[in-house]
């Protein structure tokens, strides 16, 4: 809640004006039934139509004034709700941008999204419509009850008896309403993920003729969802009738008890009309208050969930960083590096005692089985993760002492999984260097052997690649990510098995183009094909997180270990075919 205050205080000016407008609206509202009473009493007393006319004119004037202040009160307060929603969303986004990769590995994007969408909505409702009604209802009661009591306090009590009931019923039902709404949201989510999966695997579904079974499975979830919706409807449908019943019940009490008192001459006909008017005025705020109490509950819960995102600490602390006097050259040292993923209950160790030195401009190749720690090793460089112990150094400086932005812009990382954004190819390539001109974009596209593919696309570089690059082939996506990394003109280039979906011929073309680029910078290649790695200055074989072999191609062949084995197998296959 503390965070909420800090947001609300930013808008205290508009909240205050909104509040004043609310007060004015409420006060003006009170005058209308009173003026009606006066009119009725005037008529009953046989007064003139002109007097009634003046009263009517006053009502019109009040109504017009009220419509202005009411408009102001509503849009001021609701807009503040939207403003805080906007601030909150921006702040969350900025915070999320600072959270480390480890955070995203433990969180499902879907969960985060639902928090960012549903919880922010809940908070906004609390600050807008919730705030308005929490203030509004007391204002109405504080005015209406004394006025009514001044006319007839016993009738006031009697006619208001049903109202606390409204409050209770509405509060209870709206809690049920929210619980059931949540249920249906979960049902919808379950159905969504089912559909998502079905469509992702539609080729399997169709190839294995599983359509009908899939429809049957979907129909079951669908039936559940319908039942949840029906359960929700049962509660939702009750609110309006209860509300109507109770407010008309008040009218009935006034008519009956009040009628008797008029007959007895203890109450004027005008009082009776005024009573009915005040009950009308109080009906909505009473119901709204019940509703708001549950909005308040829900808003608080939502706020707590959002707070857990805010509490997630950006693991990377940039405070120790000192600016650099000269650009990085790219000499890399791993000094006794241990690394473990912070998994529960026991951390999973993936790197042990890694010691490596790579001079600036050299090429390092990393080979090893799946899961041997290759990717983790290179991810320590741009500080996607931090070494558990030991140090990773560039140009003799621990990466933790380098400003993060400087460090990362010096590294061109091509990840295993080619993630593209749903934008044009040009914008994807320029992702790390948005100001780059077309000539540079074409140049890197050429190195990544993309030029021919792009020429064949309908809109060339302006082709939008669709969600996650849906319109491109796996190889094309990998090559776009390569071009993207090259465009930032990195001091250190990292290719994490980045050409796995590219065919041999294209790979050869890329590697020969890359050779020119790699001469000028430090490069790290993770690959499975010997042909890709054999030219590297240093080749490292990782096994269960340990460096088990290190040296150049010839040295490793001489060592007759994993590398030599790999080499022989690949050669053997080729030679067998050569028969």
């Amino acid at each position: 809640m503390q965070r909420l205050w800090s947001y609300m205080i930013r808008y205290r000016g508009r909240y205050a004006i909104g509040l004043v407008c609310l007060l004015a609206t409420g006060s003006l509202a009170m005058a209308v039934p009173y003026l009606l009473k006066r009119a009725v009493d005037t008529i009953a007393a046989g007064g003139s139509q002109a007097t009634v006319g003046w009263l009517a004119v006053s009502i019109v004037a009040i109504a017009l004034t009220q419509s202005i202040v009411r408009t102001c009160s509503r849009f001021l307060i609701f807009n503040v709700g939207r403003d805080i929603e906007y601030d909150l969303r921006n702040d969350l986004f900025a915070h999320l941008e600072r959270l480390p990769l480890a955070y995203y590995q433990t969180q499902q994007t879907g969960d985060l999204m639902s928090r960012l969408v549903n919880d922010i909505t809940a908070v906004r409702l609390l600050l807008g419509v919730g705030f308005l009604n929490l203030i509004n209802t007391p204002i109405y009661y504080l005015w209406a009850v004394p006025i009514m009591a001044s006319m007839d306090w016993r009738l006031t009590l009697a006619s208001l008896v049903p109202y606390p009931l409204v409050l209770l019923v509405v509060k209870r039902t709206s809690r049920q309403l929210m619980e059931r709404t949540l249920k249906t949201q979960e049902g919808l989510a379950a159905m969504s993920s089912r559909v998502q999966e079905n469509l992702s695997g539609i080729h399997v579904v169709q190839a294995y003729v599983r359509e009908q079974a899939e429809v049957a499975a979907f129909a079951r979830l669908n039936a559940d969802f319908s039942a949840q919706n029906m359960a929700l409807a049962k509660v939702r449908g009750i609110i309006m009738p209860v509300m109507r019943a109770v407010s008309t019940l008040g009218t009935l009490v006034v008519l009956w008890l009040g009628g008797l008192r008029v007959i007895a001459g203890e109450l004027s006909l005008g009082d009776l009309v005024a009573f009915i008017g005040y009950l009308h005025i109080l009906a909505w705020p009473t119901m709204a208050l019940g509703w708001m109490l549950s909005i308040l509950q829900r808003g608080r819960a939502a706020l707590q969930r959002l707070e857990t995102i805010f509490q997630a600490v950006p693991a990377i602390d940039d405070r120790l960083a000192a600016p650099l006097s000269e650009p990085l050259r790219g000499a890399i040292t791993f000094r006794d590096v241990d690394f473990a993923y912070d998994t529960k209950p026991t951390p999973r160790r993936v790197l042990r005692d890694v010691d490596l030195t790579l001079p600036a401009g050299a090429t390092l190749a990393v080979v090893g089985r799946t899961g041997s720690g290759k990717t983790s090793l290179v991810q320590l460089l741009p500080r996607l993760f931090e070494a558990t112990s030991g140090g990773v150094e560039i140009d003799g400086r621990d990466v933790r002492t380098l400003p993060l932005a400087t460090l990362r812009s010096a590294i061109g990382y091509v990840p295993q999984d080619p993630f593209l954004f749903s934008r044009s190819i040009r914008d994807n390539i320029r992702f790390g260097a948005p100001e780059a001109d077309d000539a540079s974009v074409c140049r890197v596209a050429g190195i990544a052997a993309l030029d021919r593919d792009i020429a064949e696309l309908p809109r060339g570089y302006d082709t939008v690649v669709g969600e996650r690059g849906i319109t491109l082939s796996g190889g094309q996506k990998q090559r776009v990510t390569l071009a993207r990394a090259l465009l930032v003109d990195p001091t250190i280039l990292i290719l994490d098995d980045a050409l796995s979906s590219v065919d041999t011929e294209t790979e050869r073309r890329i590697l020969s183009e890359l050779r020119g680029v790699m001469h000028e910078r430090t490069s790290i290649l993770i690959a499975h094909r010997i042909s890709t790695v054999m030219a590297a200055d240093v080749i490292v074989v990782l096994d269960q997180g340990r460096v088990v072999e290190i040296g150049d191609h010839q040295e490793l062949l001489a060592r007759d270990g994993f590398y030599a084995d790999l080499f022989r197998r690949q050669r053997l296959a080729e030679e067998l075919e050569a028969l």
Partner: protein, 622 residues
């Protein structure tokens, strides 16, 4: 306040409108609305009616409740009038109790009919929308692969879930009763006129202003509501993508720029909402004011008549009540309007999807033999994904039953397209693909696919257990069969090592299995299917040597005793095949055995040399 709880200062520093990203916004639009944001579209309502029709009994029952509800509600002010004129002003307390009882009855009736109406409407809504969802889902199952190439899955999921849910909201928020509201209001006018026509006219003198105001609101809000929907969709699409790609954002130190882009989308969304808040506040306040003004005019007008003794007090009170009730539905107008508008937009999109023809379907009558021999014939096949951009040109070759064919060629040579034509994932542009001598387009689609086992490069696993992923839920595949096939494709060992064995739950897309294990599971799945023809796109991704051996061995088992069409990447696979088809830029350039093709010294030889030369080349450089 600690550092972690303080909102980051970055929001205060933003350069306004630094990024004018119109192209970004276009790229992000998951469902642009072509229609202008109509709140009522007779064509769409008629189609929806098609889904309500099966439940029309309940539907009409719910419709009947509406006038009953209105009658009970509109009786109440009249009872007030009777009470005041007949008893209160007459000083007669005797009949008040009786009228009170009538009043109570009217309240109970009103509430009961209201609830009944809502309940029945929702019953109809749930049933017909469930039908709609199943129909859309079943329809999507039949859509051709070309459709999924063009449409991101997320968008289709939205059609089936959120869009249909918006229709649900239309019923739930009582937006459908917007028409009935008009009737209720007409009823009020009718009653007022029948009590006193001139007084009714005086009460409704503000009507033109009301109509003008609502119309103005409708026009202003139409665009704004549509903008809000588009902008929130865009904002969330951006957010979703940023979260999934956060590693890339951070690696390329792009946080600031992404924040600015997000900020702009966020701001656009806020702005649209600001406007809608202003319109709604104005409409709401206007309606409230008009209700009071209308009452005031009526009282003034009535006072003359009462003083002249033409009408009684009760009429005035009843009119005050009627005026109140007249304005109730209008207060909810803005909410219902917004709901109706988005419902129409959603309905439009859902029906559009439903109208997409399943371009590939079984013909009538279809060829559906009990078994398949497994001969394949590509007869002058031309194929393009779109237009004249052919990826296969005049491809012709035949495969005998039981023969194993390896297809080789560089990326983009048309290999994958070729195998996709066989199961009719796509239809040829020209020529014909025949299985057992019959054009695949004449086959019953299910009979054809039932006999062709497809294993694609990227193995798709469903969430669920291992056994289910092998049997794919076919009841005829017993646990014994699953074990047998798993053993034969060398998958049994690793399955035994899983904590839950065959019952081990696979995480999303089988992320708890290695690439090799996923391959073996796909083989087991295909073997359990026992097809006459095996179509396989060999995975290129590398696995460790041991797994590699297991896979190769499994592959041999899998291909035994059936026709096999394999896009081969492993030389060993090529070696085990009877013939090799070399594709080059969509054209079959060479066909023959490995030795024949090597001897030809053509493209195959070059492809083969390339692999060899590449290794040699780099070896020389080191």
């Amino acid at each position: 306040m600690s550092a972690a709880t303080r909102p980051p200062k970055i929001t205060r520093l933003r350069p306004r409108r630094a990024v004018s990203a119109e192209s970004l916004k276009q790229a992000l639009d998951p469902h642009r609305e072509e229609a202008l944001g109509k709140a009522y579209d007779a064509r769409l309502i008629r189609r929806l009616w098609g889904f309500i029709r099966p439940y029309r009994g309940i539907f009409w029952l719910s419709v009947i409740c509406l006038p009953l509800n209105a009658t009970c509600m509109l009786t109440q002010p009249y009872l007030l009038k009777l009470a005041i004129d007949g008893y209160v002003t007459a000083g007669d307390a005797s009949g008040l109790g009786r009228i009170g009882l009538f009043y109570v009855a009217a309240i109970i009736g009103e509430c009961t009919f209201f609830y009944a109406q809502y309940y029945l409407t929702m019953l109809v809504a749930q049933r017909s929308l469930a039908d709609l969802r199943v129909q859309v889902f079943a329809h999507v199952q039949r859509l051709p692969m070309s459709y999924f190439d063009r449409n991101p899955i997320g968008r289709l999921v939205t059609r089936l879930t959120s869009d249909v849910d918006v229709l649900n909201e239309m019923f739930a928020a009582g937006a459908m009763t917007i028409f009935m509201d008009v009737l209720t209001m007409a009823g009020i006018v009718l009653i007022m006129v029948s009590i006193d026509a001139r007084l009714a006219l005086a009460s409704l003198v503000v009507m033109p202003v009301l109509v003008l105001g609502i119309n103005f609101f409708r026009l202003a809000a139409r665009r704004t509501y549509r903008e809000i929907r588009e902008r929130i969709a865009r904002l969330n699409a951006y957010l979703q993508e940023a979260l999934s790609g956060m590693m890339i954002v951070q690696l390329f130190a792009r946080e600031r720029r992404c924040f600015d882009e997000f900020d702009e989308l966020n701001d656009d969304h806020r702005e649209a909402n600001h406007w809608s808040n202003i319109y709604e506040a104005a409409l709401f306040s206007m309606v409230e004011a008009l209700a009071s003004i209308s009452g005031a005019i009526m009282v003034w007008y009535a006072s003359g008549d009462i003083l002249a003794g033409v009408i009684a007090f009760g009429t005035l009170v009843a009119f005050l009540e009627y005026i109140q009730r007249f304005f109730i539905p209008i207060r909810e107008f803005s909410t219902k309007y917004a709901v109706m508008q988005s419902a129409m937009a959603s309905a439009e999109r859902v029906f559009q999807l439903l109208d997409t023809p399943p371009a590939i379907a079984s013909p009538v009558p279809a060829y559906a033999p009990a078994s398949m021999r497994g001969t394949i014939e590509f007869d002058h096949v031309w194929f393009a994904y779109k237009g004249e951009d052919y990826v296969l040109r005049d491809v012709s070759f035949t495969v005998n039953a039981g023969e194993k064919i390896a297809i080789v060629g560089a990326t983009g040579s048309g290999k994958t397209s070729l195998i996709k034509l066989l199961s009719r994932f796509y239809d040829v542009s020209r020529g014909a693909v025949r299985v057992d001598g019959v054009d695949v387009r004449e086959w019953d689609l299910q009979a054809l696919r039932r006999r062709i086992g497809v294993v694609l490069q990227d193995v798709f696993l469903f969430s669920g257990d291992v056994a289910g992923n092998i049997s794919l839920g076919r009841p005829e595949v017993t646990t014994a069969t699953i074990e047998a096939v798993a053993r034969r494709v060398n998958a049994w060992d690793f399955i035994q090592n899983l904590p839950g064995k065959l019952d081990e739950k696979l995480r999303e897309r089988g992320s708890n299995l290695s690439t090799g294990q996923r391959q073996l599971l796909a083989f087991a799945r295909a073997l359990a299917y026992d097809p006459a023809i095996l179509v396989l796109d060999e995975a290129t991704s590398s696995v460790d040597t041991e797994t590699e051996m297991l896979i190769q061995d499994a592959l041999t088992t899998l291909m035994r005793d059936r026709t096999a069409l394999v896009i081969a990447h492993r030389l060993s696979t090529i070696e085990h095949s009877d013939r090799i088809v070399v594709l080059h830029h969509g054209v079959v350039r060479e066909i023959g055995s490995h030795l024949e093709l090597i001897a030809m010294r053509g493209i195959y030889h070059r492809l083969y040399e390339l692999q060899y030369a590449l290794a040699d080349d780099t070896a020389a450089a080191s």
